[in-house]
Structure formats: C-alpha cells, structure tokens
C-alpha cells in the first residue's frame, strides 16, 4: 500500500513537471530571446540558460520612433481598454441585475442570445461596421475601437455579473425594499458594494479581452497614432530583429499577466460559478 502511494506520488510530480515544461517553456523561450544579444540568439549553440543578459532590446522598442510604436500603443491600449471596461460595467451592471432578479419576460432567451452572439464569427459584423465607420469618417478614432470592443465583450460581462448576483443573498435586498429603498438606491448603495468581487472580475475580463483584440484595430485603424499595442507588436514582426520582437511581445504581455496572476482567484471563481448550475 505504501509503495503504491510513493509510485502514485512519483507519477503525479512527474506529470506536473511535464505539464509545467510544456505550458511554460514557450514563454521562457520568449523571455530568453528578449534579454540576449542578437548574435547569441542567432548562433547555433543552443543554451537554455542566459549567458549574457542585456536590456537594450526593451530600451530600443520603447523609443518613440521605433517601428512597432509600442510606446504609443501602450498609451492607446490603456485608454481603449479602460474605457471599454468602464462602459461594459456601466451597461452590464443594471442589465445583469435585471436578468438575475427582476421579472423580465423571455429572460432565458435574452441571456441565451447574448451568450451565443459571443461565439458567432466576428468577421460577419466587422464588414458592415467597417462600411459604417468609413462612411461617417469615424475610422481611425478611439471611438471606432471602444464601441465594437464594448459590444463584443458585453455579453460575457453580463453573464459574469449575473452569476455573481445570483449568489448574493436575496434577504438583504428584501430588507432594503421593506425599508423603502428604491431600485436605483438599492443598485447603487447595496448591490454595488456587495458585488465588488464580481465587478473586479468583470472589469478584468473586459480589460484583458480589449487588450488582446487584434482584428478590430487591424481593420478599423490605419493611423499609427491610434495603433494599439497588439497592432504595434505585429508591426514589429516585419522587422528582422528577433530580440526586439521578443521584447515587444513581453511588453505587450506584462499588463495582462500581472492582472491574471493577481486576480486569478476571481477568474477561477467566475468559471466555477458558471458551471455548478
């Protein structure tokens, strides 16, 4: 029996190591490329540990005149992602409350439609949106990114917030209603503070999804001034400097990774709350 347990443990740690290597090695390779000089990257002597660490690639990439325009890209992406997440929360919070608590007719149909929209091919909606934006000369603006992003993310955010509201105790709301609290007051003063973890999770979801969006800015913007960080990174692949390309990729990655690590618990909560129904 004890021997069996040791064997089982060995098997668990061994597979954990394999999984770790497979999932993490690509990222490690990227980090390695970003901190080594170009001649070492290009040499045929493979080493999995850095022999010489430099940060010039990062410095080069962040210069204002660099081909990838990462510096501008970060600024734009931050603005666009914040606006999108903010807008998503403002729109989704009352909608989620309505779906979760109020007597809305055809509730399940509305929720089902919203969720399934997320899985439809984006390109179907992008073609006419492009025509609309061009005909009103709204392409190449922050607005041309924020509005589609918000629409693409909104169904997801509504679903997250709804599953969090579902878990709140109804008694608090009933007590507040008996005390003469109007629905608006209820939403702002009672649900909003209670829902903080859900709101943070939803905000992060929206932020990450807008940060990584690529197709929309690719089609809707031409001006380098409006370029997002994902688009800037793509532009760096035209260049042949592998180290700088890796550095640009790392810079694109950092904000979402930090969000992911810090708020992993919230995101897991979202997933868990969605599946236990």
């Amino acid at each position: 029996m004890k021997k069996n347990l040791i064997l089982k443990n060995f098997f668990i740690y061994f597979s954990a190591l394999i999984v770790f290597l497979i999932m993490f090695f690509p990222l490690y390779g990227l980090i390695l490329t970003s901190i080594q000089p170009e001649n070492i990257i290009r040499s045929r002597n493979l080493s999995f540990f850095p022999t010489e660490i430099i940060f010039t690639h990062f410095a080069e990439v962040l210069k204002p005149n660099h081909i990838s325009n990462i510096y501008e890209g970060i600024k734009n992406s931050l603005i666009v992602s914040f606006l999108t997440s903010f807008l998503c929360i403002i729109l989704a919070f009352p909608a989620a409350y309505s779906l979760a608590r109020l007597n809305l007719p055809a509730k399940n149909i509305i929720l089902g439609t919203l969720i399934s929209i997320y899985f439809l091919p984006t390109i179907l909606f992008v073609i006419p949106l492009f025509v609309i934006l061009v005909s009103y000369q709204l392409d190449d603006t922050i607005l041309s990114l924020v509005v589609p992003y918000t629409a693409f993310t909104l169904p997801f955010v509504i679903w997250i917030l709804k599953s969090f509201i579902d878990k709140l105790p109804v008694e608090v709301e009933e007590a507040a209603k008996i005390d003469g609290c109007s629905t608006l007051q209820l939403l702002i003063h009672i649900i909003f503070p209670l829902l903080r973890p859900g709101l943070i999770a939803a905000f992060i979801f929206a932020f990450i999804l807008s940060w990584v969006e690529f197709l929309t800015p690719l089609i809707f913007t031409n001006n380098l001034k409006i370029s997002t960080v994902a688009l800037g990174l793509f532009r760096s692949t035209i260049d042949i400097k592998i180290g700088q390309q890796a550095a640009a990729a790392i810079i694109t990655l950092i904000p979402v990774t930090i969000l992911m690590i810090f708020f992993q618990q919230y995101i897991t909560k979202v997933v868990l709350s969605g599946s236990d129904k």
Binding site: P26, L102, I127, L215
Partner: protein, 309 residues
C-alpha cells in the same frame, strides 16, 4: 374583504411596473448589441446577394446567388472550408484531451499545485498576437529553439524551414491555438471534477474496480455532459481564429493555412470584394450554427442513453 379584492389588481400593477423597470435596465445593453450585431448581420446578408461598390460605399447591383455560385466553384474556397473543419476538429480534440488530463492532475493533492495552476492559466492571458510571435520564433528557421534542439539531438541533419511546408505550417498554427486554449478548458474540467461526488469513486474502489474501469464506467459518463459543450465551444472558437494565422503565415504558403475566417478577411479587406466576403461569412455562420445546434441534440442523446441508469 376589500383587501382581498384589491390584492390582484395591486400585484398586477406592481408586476407591470417591475417589467418596465427590468426592460429599462437592460435596454441600453440591448440597443448597443442590436446596433453592433443585428444591423450588421442584416447588412451582410443583403450584400451577400449583391456587388458592392467599395469606393462609393453603396450597392452596385443585385446579382442573386452569383456570389455563392462563385464561391462553390472556387477551389480556394472549398479547400478552405474543408481545412477549417479539419483545423477546428484537430484543435478541439487535442485541447479536450490535454485539458482533461491536466484537470485530473490538478484535482490531486501535491506541493506547488497553486503555482502550477497559475502557470497553466497564464497562456490564456497571452494575446494571440504574442502567441503568434512566440511560436513563430519557436519554429523560426534560423533562430528557432526547435531547430536547434532537434539538430543537437541529431534528429535532423540540417535546419528545416518549418513554415514553408503548408501542412506543417497548419499544424504549427494548431499547436499555438491548442496551447492558448488549454487553460480555459482545464478550469472548466477542474470545476466539473470538483463537483463530482467522491463517494462514488470510493465505493467503486472498495468494490474492486481498477483505475481504467473507474475511468470508463464512472468518470467518463459523468464528465461527458461537461465535455461535449466545451468541445463544441472550442470548435466554434477555433473556426474563428484569425490572429495567429495572420501573424504566423498570413494564410500561406500557397493558401495552405487559409481557414474560412481568413479567406473572408482576404476577400473583404485585401481584394475589397465585400459581396463575396459576406456570402462566405454566411457560409461560416451556417457551419457555426450547425455546430452550436449539436449540443441540443447530444444532450437529448445523453439523456436517452445514460439518463435512465
């Protein structure tokens, strides 16, 4: 008595007021969704039967089913449809298997589990452009790790240009997509595993069922209702994939990595043939809907076969 009589009308009044309130709260979201989804969907539908003038931004003339006829007779289109289905199928089969195995692992107790979970979730946060760059560098002909590793191990005699072979390139993109898709599905599988009653397994173990029997007779049927929707969602998402293809191969070499989604992009924004692109987008939509409708059928089948046990 008067109270009793007033009760229904009062609640009726409340009922409709609550309905109005419910609608007011959800209305802004619905308006935005309608503007950005429903109107474009109708627009795309209309111009899929027309020739669209991209410069004057209006419909030149209606040509009935010509766009669809062109597509069906076009080799690039038909091959990209088949490729998309293969690509989607490959990705979701591999993702489902790997995610399930990883979820099984994470369901066990071991030191460093929390750390491993963070590491596994990480690729989900990686923007697909970054994953394109990352795998592009991995498989790079001159500087890629793969070439260097295989060369030093003596598996290959010279450096290979991986992305020059259409079939290899397609699978490289699939690897990138699978790597990115694993985290999300793993979390879902894990939550599914954690919601299973452990007594069943203990009872089976006491009864002398071995690991494989426990897997095929208990775990598999219990997890199937979770696995099928995840599988289909992954299929739909894989058919939508664009960024990785765009960054890694731009549909090449020789159209070997052009999926339907990428084909539509090329028709719409490289050759600016919006009518044809819209027609192709509707073909993609029909395939997607067909896939989405399968869960309803499969749920029925699961109930039919396993529900009565």
């Amino acid at each position: 008595m008067t109270d009793l009589l007033n009760q229904p009308s009062n609640s009726q009044f409340k009922f409709s007021r609550e309905k109005i309130l419910a609608f007011t709260l959800i209305l802004p979201s619905l308006i935005l969704v309608f503007i950005t989804y429903l109107y474009p969907a109708i627009f795309t539908f209309v111009i899929s039967f027309a020739e669209y003038d991209i410069i004057r931004l209006k419909i030149k003339k209606f040509i009935q089913f010509k766009n669809f006829e062109f597509l069906i007779s076009n080799y690039f289109f038909t091959s990209s449809v088949l490729r998309t289905i293969y690509f989607g199928f490959l990705i979701c089969v591999c993702t489902t298997i790997f995610s399930f195995l990883i979820a099984l692992l994470l369901n066990e107790k071991f030191i460093g589990k929390a750390f491993l979970r963070v590491m596994i979730v990480l690729p989900w946060a990686v923007p697909s452009v970054v994953s394109g760059v990352l795998w592009g560098q991995m498989f790079h002909a001159d500087t890629g790790f793969l070439n260097a590793l295989l060369y030093q191990l003596g598996v290959i005699s010279g450096y290979k240009i991986w992305l020059a072979d259409p079939l290899v390139a397609l699978h490289v993109i699939a690897i990138a997509e699978i790597w990115k898709a694993i985290p999300f599905m793993t979390l879902f599988f894990l939550s599914g595993l954690q919601s299973l009653p452990s007594e069943v397994f203990e009872a089976a173990a006491v009864d002398g069922a071995n690991v494989f029997q426990r897997f095929s007779n208990i775990l598999f049927p219990l997890m199937l209702p979770i696995a099928i929707p995840l599988f289909l969602i992954q299929f739909v998402l894989a058919m939508k994939s664009f960024d990785t293809i765009f960054v890694l191969t731009r549909g090449g070499p020789g159209g070997g990595t052009t999926t339907l989604n990428y084909f539509i992009y090329q028709e719409a924004f490289e050759t600016f043939n919006l009518g044809r692109a819209s027609a192709a987008a509707y073909v993609l939509l029909i395939i997607t809907l067909a896939v989405v409708l399968i869960p309803t059928i499969s749920r029925f089948l699961i109930k039919f076969f396993w529900g009565n046990k």
